[in-house]
């Protein structure tokens, strides 16, 4: 369960990307964060992933108050989340398989076990035959699916995605949505920031609507 209370993130210079936002997301729920460009969607997702830290307010995930944690504890918290970035952040100096193995490498899983789990994740997103390919050789949709494989390989309890279909055609976007629905079906909490109205229409889910950093519905 994620409980945000009066969450505010102010950037140096005084700009408040997220202002006084409070909400609750139940475990296993699927939630869309929507709003215009610059409404604070990305900042909110990064706050949830504890990549950004709130300036004020509190954020409690599974009973743990993230806003009170020491900086050195943050890496261990981040491992509970699967994070999918708008620009994927894939590494082009290694194969698709090695990209997926990065989170396992970080937690120190032995290589053989890591390869096994990474292959399973690639299989889940339909990229097993492309495991040796460099991400640069993959299409936009494939790259996004690869980044999803990397996000889920460590079996996170919460999947966070920031505009995962931003640059994709309708068909690829629909594939991605299906993947999220699948993960949600097996109990993973899914939070997706998107301005894609098709998604909201097609899938019944909780919606957090942001405008100028404030929650409006």
């Amino acid at each position: 369960m994620i409980v945000a209370s009066n969450l505010t993130r102010r950037y140096p210079g005084g700009y408040e990307a997220v202002k006084d936002v409070s909400f609750t997301i139940e475990s296993g729920q699927m939630v869309f964060v929507t709003g215009h460009s610059g409404a604070g969607k990305t900042t909110l997702v990064k706050l949830l992933a504890s990549i950004e830290r709130p300036t004020s307010g509190s954020l409690v995930v599974n009973g743990q108050n993230l806003s009170a944690l020491r900086r050195s504890a943050l890496p261990y918290v981040r491992r509970h989340f699967g994070m999918i970035f708008q620009d994927q952040k894939l590494l082009f100096d290694r194969s698709a398989l090695d990209n997926v193995m990065l989170p396992l490498h970080i937690v120190g899983l032995p290589r053989r076990e890591a390869v096994r789990r990474a292959r399973a994740a690639l299989d889940k997103v339909g990229l097993l035959e492309r495991e040796k390919a460099n991400p640069i050789a993959l299409s936009g949709g494939e790259q996004q699916r690869l980044s999803i494989a990397r996000a889920v390989v460590n079996r996170p309890t919460v999947l966070l995605a920031d505009e995962p279909t931003g640059n994709l055609d309708v068909e690829s976007a629909a594939d991605i949505l299906e993947l999220f629905v699948d993960f949600n079906r097996v109990g993973v909490t899914v939070v997706v920031a998107t301005h894609d109205q098709n998604w909201l229409a097609r899938h019944p889910a909780g919606v957090l609507r942001l405008a100028h950093g404030r929650l409006v519905g």
Binding site: M83, F85, K89, G108
Partner: protein, 299 residues
Amino acid sequence: MSAWLSQHRAALASALHRLWATPLNTLLSLLVIGIALTLPGFGYVLLDNLRALGGNASGVQQISVFMNLDASRKEVGEIENRLRQAATGKWRFVPKEDALKRMQESEGMADIVASLPRNPLPDAFIVEPTRSDPEALEILRKEIAGWPRVAHVQLDSAWVKRLDAFLALGKLALWMLAGIFAAGLVAVTFNTIRLQVMAQAAEIEVARMIGATDSFIRRPFHYYGALQGALGGLVAAGLVFGALALLEGPVGDLANLYGGTHSLRAPGTVEVALLCAAGALLGWLGAQLSVSLSLRKFD
């Protein structure tokens, strides 16, 4: 434990891979580090050899007591008695005939000695005092000099002391040199690691966002710096051995001219290992400074 080991193994593999991936850069860095370590390393070997030379010549302090040329047997016997009474340490008598004989045996001296009308050498005592501190030696020297028919008393340790002083100075200079080059080595590593961090920026950024700890990020760079330093130490050892091999011939010739033999003492396994360890330590330090500074950007 296995996770810890696995992470260290991976970091070491990654460091080796990065060293191997850019052979030219690696080679140049190793050469720079090697040269930086060679100078103090070679200085050390040089001092070590000088010390060995001094040690061979005379480890113990000696006082030579020369009698007047015309001192009689009885007068010499008197000095002998006084030495015995003073109980200053071991001593032995060198009669002038023995001294002349020994001089004749020295290279190129036989003809000269033969042409002398009479023995120009005095009777002498070689004293090895039990107390060898400079003050005690000086007191003893003055005392003996005051005895009758004693022409000259010489502290043979003077040149050993000069050599010691010279070696002490050399050692100090060597430490200063080592300090300067150690700083140079840290700076070189600092820069290579900074470039490495820049090249790995994408990986570092994403790894941090998905849960990598600072030590996870630093580890490969630490290994990289330490490995580079240790390999630089090996290069330095190679350069020192090469220089010694080149010097071996001329030093042998020089020693021959002085009628002796001297072969250069090369550094041993322990010394090479120490050089590599020093390189590794300094490399690690450079990497630590560089990564700490570079990682601030990612916060």
